[in-house]
């Protein structure tokens, strides 16, 4: 027998494509992620903001089953990455902090390899990889060994590598590091476009407040393993700056993510 409220809960759960409950990860006496609760809806672009060492990457690793939580549960696309990592990884594309490629293979070959690991035939893989190389603007470097790629080119290739499996969720850990300004703009537009077109959920971990504000529907501010605040920029500002009608000493009318972020770190924590 299932009571009505429980059914409601089930429906709510089904909408959350990523759900973390009481998630904890300790390294010896140090707690890197401290009973974290977070739910991300399907199709949403979520920004994870936080200073160095806040535990962002650790949280992401736990979502992919690349490290095991000490406590709490993770559900991604309805699967538990601890017991069912392969099902999760079929649906989730992950761009690691420092993405690496096989340096003696060309960019194209690296992509084809990933595609084939995802169950594509070599012909299909080659066609798809070719299209993606064009889409991320690396068409000219197709036949170049990745060992000779520049930092930004690797990062772009990383995005193609994530997209080649047609993911439902993409998790990007500081993806714009090393990309030039025009490239960043394209990169962000591509992500937003994909997310809107194909209802891909995006988890975007970054220090770049402007980028996060530009593209994210909601942000979470993450400090020392704890989520301090979650919401869209407007509602966060409304919570934080109740009673103040405009940013102190500024002409602007609206609060930006900068104002919010630094309100959490009065005294100025280095964030870059």
């Amino acid at each position: 027998m299932v009571s009505v409220p429980e059914i409601w809960k089930e429906v709510a759960v089904a909408d959350n494509i990523i759900e973390l409950k009481g998630l904890t990860r300790r390294y010896g006496p140090f707690t890197a992620v401290d009973s974290l609760d977070l739910a991300i809806e399907k199709g949403e672009i979520f920004g994870l903001l936080g200073p160095n060492g806040a535990g962002k990457s650790t949280t992401i690793l736990m979502m992919l089953g690349l490290t095991e939580p000490d406590d709490g549960t993770v559900r991604v696309c309805g699967f538990d990455p601890v017991s069912d990592p392969v099902e999760v990884k079929k649906r989730v594309g992950y761009l690691p902090e420092e993405v690496g490629f096989y340096d003696d293979l060309t960019g194209m070959e690296n992509l084809v390899y990933t595609a084939r690991l995802n169950g594509l035939s070599s012909n299909a893989a080659r066609i798809k990889a070719g299209k993606l190389m064009e889409r991320i603007g690396l068409d000219a470097e197709k036949a170049k060994k990745t060992g000779k790629y520049s930092r930004g080119m690797r990062q772009r290739l990383g995005l193609a590598d994530v997209l080649i499996k047609d993911p439902e969720v993409i998790i990007l850990d500081e993806p714009t590091l090393g990309i030039d300004p025009a490239g960043v703009k394209e990169f962000l537009e591509l992500i937003v476009g994909l997310s809107r077109e194909q209802k891909i959920t995006v988890l975007f971990s970054s220090h770049h407040l402007h980028q996060v504000q530009q593209i994210c529907d909601r942000v979470g501010i993450f400090v020392a393993g704890k989520l301090l605040a979650v919401g869209d920029v407007k509602s966060l500002a409304a919570q934080l700056f109740r009673g103040e009608d405009r940013p102190a000493g500024s002409e602007r009318k609206d609060y930006s993510l900068d104002d919010i972020y630094f309100r959490y770190f009065e005294g100025g924590v280095d964030h870059e």
Binding site: S57, L61, L64, L66, T67, E68, P85, V86, E87, K89, K90, V92, G93, Y94, P96, E97, E98, V99, G100, F101, Y102, D103, D104, Y113, T114, R116, L117, N118, G119, L120, S121, S122, N123, A124, R126, G158, D161, K165, D173
Partner: protein, 333 residues
Amino acid sequence: MSNAVVSIKTKTARTGERISHPFRVIVEKEMADHIRSWRFIILIAIIALTSLGSLYTALANFSQAVKPNDPEGTFFFLKLFTITDGTMPSFTVFISFLGPLLGIALGFDAINSEHNRGTMGRMLSQPIHRDYIINAKFTAALAVISVMLMALGLLVMGAGLIFIGIPPTAGEFMRVVFFILLSILYVAFWLNLSILFSVLFRQPATAALSAIAVWLFFSVFYPLIVNLITKSLAPSEMAAPQTIIAFEQFRLALLRLMPNQLFSEATTTLLMPSVRSLGPLTMEQMIGALPGPLPLGQSLLMVWPQVTGMAAGTIISFVISYVLFMRREIRSR
């Protein structure tokens, strides 16, 4: 002509359509990596040169080695692999010496290089089981080694055939095949050991050095240590035969902790069919025994403990690396 072209085209189209299992995809890539690497080319060169050398000495001394009334007289083809004139080791000795090097060279950077290049996180975020990576690396290296040793063994046989002019009997042929399989197992042991070190140590150089240290320990220091121990414990010549036998067995048991001892015992039995015991024999056991070669089945039975010993060693290092790797946190770099 045009038909042929079309059929080739459809064939490649068809192979291109095939969806391979991810495990197979990894194995194929790893094998291609090995074959294209300089490391592998150098290893091939070393091994080809040494086997040429040992083949040359074997052929040069062949006539002296074959004596009338030799119980192994009918097995002279096998002598290709075992005879030497003292200046150059025989083929089997070369394999027992270079085999570990081969295994270590193909495994010492299996896992840690993936970490260092930052490809591990990317690989493990693909929908594959974690053990695929370690299993596929092992399989690929083993496949490459097997092909190489098989080719080498058959080449030596072929060269022997040309120079001696008498083909091997079916029995001899089977013995050589089993010898090659044994060598593959032996190399697999060292391969797994070096994969274990590649899981343990983040730096490939450290992993390679530790594996070489283990190899040196077993091939140089361990026999010395066993010698020291047994010398101090040796019973006098007047001691009861039981004591002497017990002591001899103890000495052998100590030596058999070395993988190279197991390998050389097993190859001796396989390639010298007249060997009927690897331990001490009493007079009673000798009485009534005809000095003749053992049938292949009996030789295989005799090497069975050695084979299981090597397989056990292989499996132990595999299990340890497996356990360590499966639970490890995968950070990028």
